[in-house]
Each structure stands twice: as structure tokens, then as C-alpha cells.
Amino acid sequence: MNVTSASPAVDLRAVGAPEAGAVARPLSRLSDADLGTLLMIRHFELAVLELFSQGRLHGTTHTCLGQEYIPVALYPLLDDGDYVFSNHRGHGHYLARFHDPHGLLAEIMGRAGAVCHGVGGSQHIYRDRYLSTGVQGQSLPVAVGVGLHLKQAEPGRIAVVHIGDGTWGEGAVYEALNMAQLWQAPVLVVVEHNGIAQSTPTERQMSGTVAARAAAFGVGHLRIDSVDVTDVRAALAPVVEQVRDRHRPYVVECVTHRVGPHSKGDDTRAAEVRERAARHDWYRRYRQDHPAQFAAADQAQAQAVAAVVREVGARPASRWEAR
């Protein structure tokens, strides 16, 4: 694990080894609950891709294969009063927050019981204080507005925004960071930096760094290069507390790896690039490091998701009544 911080507000920590070593170091053993959530998301995403390949899904989707550990690490640090803003790659965020594969799959399939009645689909979901939208960067200014509300009406609560490295191409991100820092809004920006924006590698779409961008606004920044839920959660905990207590924005940059395609079968990366991502996959590593715990949990989640697919797939079409 490699955690570095550009912020004077959080202690500088450098834990673990740089990238090559990060793969070699065994992953810590997780609680059955955390492992179960990770595997639920993994099997859910695999099921979504399979349903697409069978022609049973309409439209498009973006799976979070390889990035499941980020919401799993973060969300136990949040409570129900915190807002979460998700993006196009949001199935893992939703499932980690609500543990509701039925509602999400029904939404994606347009079946009864869909969390948004099938109107929003894969990337437009609103439930309680969780909201996803499909336009890159758009939710950051919205989160600043929500942050202003929370600071005034519910101090101690925060707004979390998930974005990717590609999102930094959008001007809305910079306008929002500026206002969040000016007005001290409790907004935690979680960058899932998977090194690729759809098909364009980061080095061809982003000059400079995320750290320098945050520094330019005087916003704290923490870079986490680990897929170990325990380490990531430990690194996030003091940041979340700081956003809560001091009402100020923070950028956490999770170095991660997109194991699957951007959308459906549209992965044009070279084989060696995909293999590098696969080597960082928590799934492969956890199976190797904790084979007995993994095997039982993996089988249980595979079966559970298969049952969800069968059950939801047999439901009638959703109805949009509250237009």
C-alpha cells in the first residue's frame, strides 16, 4: 500500500511499498461481511455483462469490475444522513450502500420493484440520500449545494462524490472545487483513478496531476494506492472525520484498475495492459491469499446473484406512474 498526502491537514503517511510490491504483499483478511459485499458486487457485474451478451438487457451499462473495494472500504465510515453522489459506473456504490441487488437489477432490466421504476436505468438512480447521474462532473457543484445545506442544517454530515480520472476534463469540477473551498462545504471527492477514460489512457487526456489540481485550490488531497479494504478504510477514516468536523472539502485519489470493459465488450486496451489490471484485481489476489474463506464466500455470492437474476428476470415490466 502506498498512501501519500499533499495536505497539511492530514498527517503524511506512507504505508507499504510502491506499486510492484503492492501486488506481492498479501491482502489482509476481511470480515465475512466485507468480503460478502465485495463478491456480491463482483458477481452482480458479471451477471450484468452476461445478461447483455444474452440480449436480455436494453441500452448500456458500465461495470465497476476491479473497483468494488472502494465503496466497500468507504461506506462503513458514512451514515444514512450522508449524501453519496455516484456516476455512470455506480452499481458498486449502490450495492455497497443498500445491499439491494434485486432493486438495482430490476432497475437495469426495467422490471417490477425497480428502485426508480426503470426510468433512470443503470446510471440514474436516486434513493434516500444516494443519487447518480450520467453527465460527467455535473454532480460536483450539486454536492457543493448539498454541502452548504448540510453545514447549515445538519452539521457533521457530508456529501461524497465519486468521479473518475476522466471527469477532470470537465470545467464543472474546477468550479465546484473552488466554491467548495471558498465556502467550506463538507464535500469529499473520491477519485477512482483507473488510468483510462473510456478508451483514452490518462496520460493522453490529463496533463499534470490530481494532487496538483487539489493543491491549486488549497484543497486537501490523499492518494491511496491499495486494493486492501482494511488499508483503504484506515486511510479514509481520518479524512472523512476531517470533512465532517471541519466542514471543508477533500480529494481522495484511489489508484485503481478497471478490470473489465468501459461498457460492454468495448475494451480496446492491449493484452498486456489488461493483464496488468488483472494482476491488481483484488478478486484474484484475495482468492490466492485467503483461499478457504474466499471459496465459500465466492460460491455463496455467485449462487445468491444467480438467484436474483432468476427471480428478477421473471418479474413483470416496471410501471412509470408518477410522471
Partner: protein, 337 residues
């Protein structure tokens, strides 16, 4: 008799009321804080009274529209000021793709109490990027309603209605109108009187008493009131053509059915607007009115808009591009023959 309240003062007192009456209301815009009080002084005195809820923002029109939407999402009310409506182009994404869409795209109704205020229009010499009338670009968006300030409509009532609707709205405010007086007690001038109709668009009807059924009904948004009344006067006095003027507060959605009893009193209808022609509010109204009144109309609805041009800066050039009383007079006179 006390001095009549100017339109900018009426807007200002409406905002004072809104922020005072609803503690969850925020106002965000560029240079809105005191002592400056906004480029057109509409927000004067607000930040002194409500320092935590009146935020002078960076130059980030898209950003502040998003912040206003976030506040609305969290249950607050927000008023977001574009310094010039031209800059609302920068706020189109948060308005179109977030604020308006969120009302319905999550499968259930999500209340969004938010108004974007847009100082609009020309005749002040601000040039091509500070003088446009962009109403037509915001038409036809589900859950986005449009209103326009007029000297007939009290803005406390207008803004309250917009926020009570729980859907985002855009309020267009003609910049020339800011310095003009609000009409009161049914009087426009020595010739014309006005009354409030009970239709959903809250239309004001301007008429010359004792003239009987008019030759023309002229529909115009609030910003064209003064120019329209000037044309109505010269048409009446010089040509003996009688016109009534209808000025709706709400431009979109627009329910012309509710106005049919009034519209049916003339067999000629003219629609005025300051936007460039094609794909406009006037065309939308014309289409509705043709459907409903075709057999009773002496001629198709006469649409009058600005020239198909940018708005130039020099006074004489700007004058020629925008709709003027003389243009309205001439067009109606010719279409009466």
C-alpha cells in the same frame, strides 16, 4: 400620490420578502453582495440582511446553477442570478440535464424549488454577448418553466409561485424594464387600462376602454410591454386600428385554451418577441392558436421578432435589429389591409 415603484425595486423587495419569509432560501450570483448589490442593483441590501444565505460567487455560471440545484435537492429554495442572460448558456447543462430532469427521471417526483434569474434583452448598447433574448432556447424542456418580468406582475407573487411549483424555472427580466415603473390600479396611461385575467399564465390584458371588440390581439412577453403599448397608441390614434395587448407572466408551459374567450374577440392575432425568428415562443403560440382558432382567424397569426442577426452595439445598428414600436405599427397596419 407616492412615486410608483420601479421594476428593479419591486424585484428587490420580492427577494427581501422571500429570504425573510423562508429561512431555507439562498440567493447566489456574481457580485450580488453589498455594497455592490448586483450589476443591476436588484439584490441590494440582501447580503447585509442575510449574510449566510446571499453568496457572491466566482465567475462560474454553470457551477452556481449546479449549487442552486443541490440546495433545491436538499430541500432548500434557491435563486440563482445570471449577471446577463447570455451567460445562461454556460448553465444549460445543470438546468437541462440535472435540475429539470431530476424532477422526473428517478421514477417519482423529486421537488426542485429553484429559480434562475436572467437579465435579458437589448436596447442598452451592451453588444452581441450581453443583449440576447434566449427564451426560445429553454422552451420545451420537461419540468422547466419560464416566466418573464412585466410591469403588471408583482414579483413577490411571481417568484413565490415559481418556487411553490417545486420545479426549476427561469425568470427572464428585460434590462430596460428595470428602470421603468410598475403599473398599478389598472392604469397604464391616459388611453389604456389593464386587468388581470384568471388564466394559468396569469396574463395581463391591456385595452382602451369603450372601444368595443378590437381589430387585433397582440401577445407579448413583459419586456416588450412599453414598445407594444407605444405601437398600440399610434395604431389607435393614427390608423384607427384598435388592439388589445396580452402580457402573460408565464411563457412556458403556455395554455392558450384558457385565453380563448379573450382571443376570440378579434380575428387577427400578432405575437411579439425579441428573439431571432425560427423555433421561437411566438411560433409555439401561433401553432397552438392555429389549431384552436383557424376557422375564425382572418389571417394567420402575425409573428414579429428581431432580425435574424446578432445584436450589434452601436445605438442605430441595435435599434434596427430589435423590434421597435415603429416596426410593430407598420407590420400590423399592413396586415390589416
Amino acid at each position: 400620490m407616492t412615486r410608483r415603484q420601479r421594476v428593479a425595486e419591486n424585484l428587490n423587495s420580492a427577494l427581501h420578502h422571500l429570504l425573510g419569509a423562508h429561512p431555507g432560501t439562498y440567493l447566489i450570483g456574481e457580485d450580488v453582495a453589498d455594497p455592490y448589490g448586483g450589476a443591476f442593483k436588484v439584490t441590494r441590501g440582501l447580503s447585509d440582511r442575510f449574510p449566510d444565505r446571499v453568496l457572491s460567487s466566482p465567475l462560474s455560471e454553470g457551477g452556481i446553477a449546479g449549487v442552486g440545484a443541490g440546495l433545491a435537492l436538499a430541500g432548500n429554495r434557491s435563486v440563482v442570478e445570471m449577471m446577463f442572460s447570455d451567460f445562461a448558456a454556460l448553465a444549460f447543462d445543470p438546468l437541462l440535464n440535472f435540475a429539470a430532469k431530476s424532477v422526473s427521471m428517478y421514477g417519482r417526483r423529486v421537488p426542485m424549488s429553484m429559480v434562475v434569474r436572467c437579465p435579458t434583452g437589448g436596447n442598452r448598447g451592451y453588444g452581441p454577448t450581453h443583449s440576447q433574448s434566449l427564451q426560445k432556447h429553454f422552451l420545451g424542456i420537461p419540468s422547466l418553466h419560464l416566466r418573464e418580468v412585466s410591469p403588471f406582475h408583482d414579483n413577490q407573487r411571481v417568484l413565490t409561485a415559481m418556487l411553490d411549483r417545486e420545479e426549476p424555472g427561469v425568470l427572464f427580466e428585460d434590462k430596460v424594464l428595470y428602470t421603468r415603473a410598475m403599473y398599478q390600479e389598472g392604469v397604464v396611461d391616459d388611453l389604456f387600462r389593464y386587468e388581470a385575467l384568471a388564466d394559468p399564465s396569469e396574463t395581463a390584458r391591456v385595452f382602451a376602454p369603450d372601444c368595443g371588440p378590437p381589430d387585433w390581439i397582440v401577445l407579448a412577453p413583459g419586456g416588450l410591454t412599453e414598445r407594444a403599448v407605444t405601437a398600440l397608441r399610434s395604431l389607435l390614434l393614427e390608423e384607427e386600428i384598435t388592439c388589445e395587448l396580452l402580457v402573460p407572466s408565464q411563457l412556458y408551459p403556455f395554455d392558450s385554451k384558457a385565453l380563448l374567450p379573450v382571443l376570440s374577440r378579434a380575428d387577427r392575432i400578432c405575437v411579439l418577441e425579441d428573439s431571432t425568428a425560427d423555433g421561437t415562443w411566438g411560433e409555439l403560440l401561433a401553432q397552438q392558436l392555429h389549431e384552436q382558432l383557424w376557422s375564425r382567424l382572418a389571417r394567420p397569426v402575425l409573428p414579429l421578432s428581431a432580425e435574424p442577426s446578432i445584436v450589434p452595439t452601436a445605438a442605430h445598428l441595435e435599434h434596427d435589429v430589435l423590434l421597435q414600436p415603429s416596426t410593430i405599427h407598420r407590420a400590423i397596419m399592413e396586415a390589416t389591409k
